[in-house]
């Protein structure tokens, strides 16, 4: 835990006041179309002889509107990378800029606000709050912000709900939904605030392959039709083949940065990484 964490509760109200307009900052983000840029990012666990380096000086840029897959075998550091980029975990050194803001300098209160307003999440499972119905889960980011969606946002959410086929499930509880339906709700929630970027962590890991492909199709539609930037962590070659760009990680480094690939090519390359280890 960082020292600043201890003080965040006392200061969070102040810091909310200090950074009231993430939205404005987003508007003058670099015009080069970079949504996230990471430089010299290092994450180390432990200290001394037992220290483990999970991320070893990673530098990368994610382009706005692109669907990027981050691939790698287990233990390659891909989840750690995503957690740090999403403001869920702290870096050991290096910087992460999200929409022009260096998030490694933010305290816990600001990071919380960042996740609420500017980042969307789709996890592998346990995405939804069991106590809220579908609509409650989709609207949760607004509710946490203490505001009602504007008319324009409301129209956007309505459109998402229709596109994702959730219209007649709005008052269902997560426990009444299938795995695929739950992921659709998570996607609707992630897109509802039109975040800078959506992070998806193995979003199809718990689904059968047909439902998985549907969910991947929805993600790539969101990117193509609405220009939504998406970063997806996965170790499934089929899932990665839906992405515009694929970053391969091994032992905490990026070993390949590629455009769209076929599942067979991805699988072959993954096997070659595994073989070298």
């Amino acid at each position: 835990m960082r020292v600043s964490d201890r003080f965040d509760s006392a200061f969070s109200a102040v810091s909310w006041g200090r950074l009231p307009n993430f939205g404005c900052m987003a508007s003058h983000t670099p015009a080069d179309g970079v949504v996230a840029d990471v430089s010299d990012l290092v994450k180390r666990y432990g200290a001394g002889a037992t220290a483990v380096t999970a991320l070893d000086e990673i530098t990368l840029e994610l382009r706005r509107g692109e669907f990027t897959a981050i691939m790698g075998p287990s233990g390659s550091g891909k989840s750690t990378l995503m957690h740090i980029m999403a403001g869920l975990d702290a870096a050991s050194s290096g910087t992460v800029r999200l929409g022009g803001v260096d998030i490694t300098a933010l305290d816990d209160g600001d990071l919380t606000e960042l996740r609420r307003r500017r980042v969307g999440f789709v996890f592998q499972s346990f995405n939804l709050l069991p106590i809220l119905d579908v609509l409650g889960n989709v609207l949760l980011p607004f509710e946490l912000d203490g505001r009602k969606p504007s008319a324009e946002e409301r129209a956007w959410i309505d459109r998402l709900i229709d596109q994702l086929g959730l219209r007649n499930r709005l008052d269902h509880r997560p426990s009444q939904l299938s795995g695929g339906q739950q992921q659709r709700v998570a996607i609707a929630r992630a897109l509802a605030t039109r975040p800078e970027i959506v992070f998806a962590d193995e979003p199809t890991g718990n689904l059968d392959s047909r439902t998985g492909r549907e969910v991947l199709g929805l993600l790539s539609d969101a990117s193509r039709q609405h220009g939504q930037s998406i970063a997806m962590v996965t170790h499934d070659p089929v899932a990665a083949s839906f992405a515009d760009r694929i970053l391969f990680l091994a032992d905490g480094r990026i070993v390949r940065d590629s455009g769209r690939l076929q599942p067979e090519e991805i699988a072959t390359f993954m096997l070659s990484i595994e073989a070298q280890r």
Binding site: S12, T112, R116, F121, P141
Partner: protein, 466 residues
């Protein structure tokens, strides 16, 4: 497999308090009897005092054991709900449900024995200290008393047995765990066993109806014959047991109303939803406290109404009631403290179950943090949940206690000398105030440690929990 004590600290605390209370009462009995024997002017009371004290001590020990039994079985049920995955895994690799339940009951016995023995040491220490102070301040003459009396084995054994039995009762759900649950993402099961529920609710209804008939008979007959209070007592026990059995029907509606009053912000709304999500869990958490508040309120309302009736009786027949006032208020004070101990056990139970249930929600709380819940929102959510639970228990307990207390006094004294007849129930405002303040303090105490733990949860760690 050897019993493990992990997750049994809450049960241990309850056993230690019950053991301390029981042993201290027995020791006080011994001290007072020895002091009376040492007093040359005591005369005939040498025999009557120990007898009366013994009866009073047994009543209060039984009362505290009842409350600690309810609290422990509910705590164990909460622990079992949180261990579903682990139990399912053991079932999957071939352990029988009976063996798993037996293991939890053995843990209960072990914890009960340890708690009772620790309680015996503390209780004896407290009694010895008080005895010493009483002699030093010349309340008692110096007396001869051995603290190593075999009588203290009675509360020790009773506490150990109660904990064992409560663990057995509380682990009933182990039998329903299906091996396949080891594979899913199931948290607490929400599929209730409807047939069992229906049987239990029917039994509860019968108990309440029969109990109410007895209570009414107690009030009516009490206008003529004071012994009618026994009918009232039976009616009280039956109907209250009925209410405890059907707690998952009685508590949630009250919780729903109270939950709406707690607040309208997102954290408060989520807290109310959480409290209502598993009606059984919330009922488990609050029922101990309901019993505690009901006991305290019943007793003080009885006493208040009782004193009122005595006043009326004294006006009509002054000779009979000469000098009774101070004695009665002394008894009221001592008994209130003794009943307060049962309420304390109930309060510990609520603290335990709330903190267990927050611990079992680690993953959910981590998800909330990931989605943008601030620590402050998380904290106020847990405080609101604690407040909803204690407020519900307090309201239900006050209402029940008020009714029982009035019936008790009415059936006991409606027909006593001077014929007070039917008397309006008296609300003992000081006690109501004490109960409300105690509930507020309990809310804070119960919420502090879980909310601290919850705000320390790192979203990454919580999401990684499988």
């Amino acid at each position: 497999m050897k019993p493990s004590l992990r997750g049994q600290i809450p049960t241990l605390i309850v056993a230690v308090i019950a053991g301390t209370f029981g042993v201290a009462l027995v020791q006080f009995d011994g001290i007072i009897s020895a002091a009376v024997r040492a007093d040359p002017v005591a005369g005939a009371s040498v025999h009557t005092v120990p007898l009366l004290l013994g009866l009073a001590a047994i009543s209060f020990i039984v009362l505290s054991l009842y409350v600690s039994g309810v609290v422990t079985s509910n705590t164990v049920a909460t622990v079992v709900a949180g261990r579903t995955r682990q139990i399912a895994l053991l079932r999957l690799i071939g352990s029988s449900a009976r063996a798993e339940r037996g293991r939890i009951a053995r843990e209960g016995l072990l914890v009960g024995v340890i708690g009772a023995v620790v309680g015996a040491v503390i209780g004896t220490g407290v009694a010895a200290l008080v005895g010493h102070l009483a002699v030093a301040s010349r309340i008692f003459r110096p007396f001869v008393y051995s603290y190593a009396t075999p009588t203290i084995l009675l509360p020790v054994v009773a506490v150990a047995m109660t904990t064992w039995l409560a663990a057995w009762v509380g682990s009933r759900r182990v039998l329903d765990v299906r091996p396949v649950e080891a594979l899913g993402n199931s948290t607490e099961r929400s599929i209730p066993d409807i047939a069992v529920h229906r049987r239990r609710h029917r039994l509860a209804l019968v108990l309440v109806i029969v109990g109410v008939v007895f209570l009414a008979a107690g009030v009516v007959l009490g206008l003529r014959f004071p012994p009618a209070v026994l009918l009232g007592l039976i009616g009280g026990l039956l109907s209250f047991s009925g209410i405890v059995f059907a707690a998952d029907r009685v508590i949630p509606p009250v919780l729903r109303v109270v939950g709406r009053l707690v607040g309208t912000g997102t954290p408060a709304r989520l807290a109310a939803e959480n409290a209502l999500r598993y009606p059984e869990r919330s009922s488990r958490m609050t029922v101990g406290l309901v019993i505690g508040v009901t006991l305290v309120t019943t007793f003080s309302v009885t006493m208040q109404t009782f004193q009122d009736m005595l006043a009326i009786g004294a006006r009509n027949d002054p000779q009979q009631y000469n000098g009774l006032g101070p004695i009665i208020s002394g008894i009221v004070t001592v008994f209130s403290i003794l009943i307060g101990f049962s309420a304390l056990i109930a309060a510990v139970g609520l603290v335990n179950t709330l903190s267990l249930s927050v611990m079992q929600r680690t993953r959910e709380l981590g998800l909330m943090r990931a989605l943008g819940f601030t620590r402050r929102q998380l904290r106020s959510m847990i405080f609101a949940e604690a407040a909803a639970l204690t407020a519900t228990a307090t309201v239900v307990g006050l209402v029940l206690g008020f009714v029982y207390g009035w019936i008790g006094a009415q059936s006991m004294l409606g027909g006593v000398h001077g014929h007070p007849g039917l008397v309006a129930p008296q609300i003992p405002w000081p006690i109501v105030l004490v109960v409300v303040v105690a509930a507020a303090v309990l809310t804070l105490v119960a919420a502090v440690s879980p909310s601290r733990r919850a705000t320390r949860i790192s979203p990454v760690a919580a999401l990684a929990v499988e």
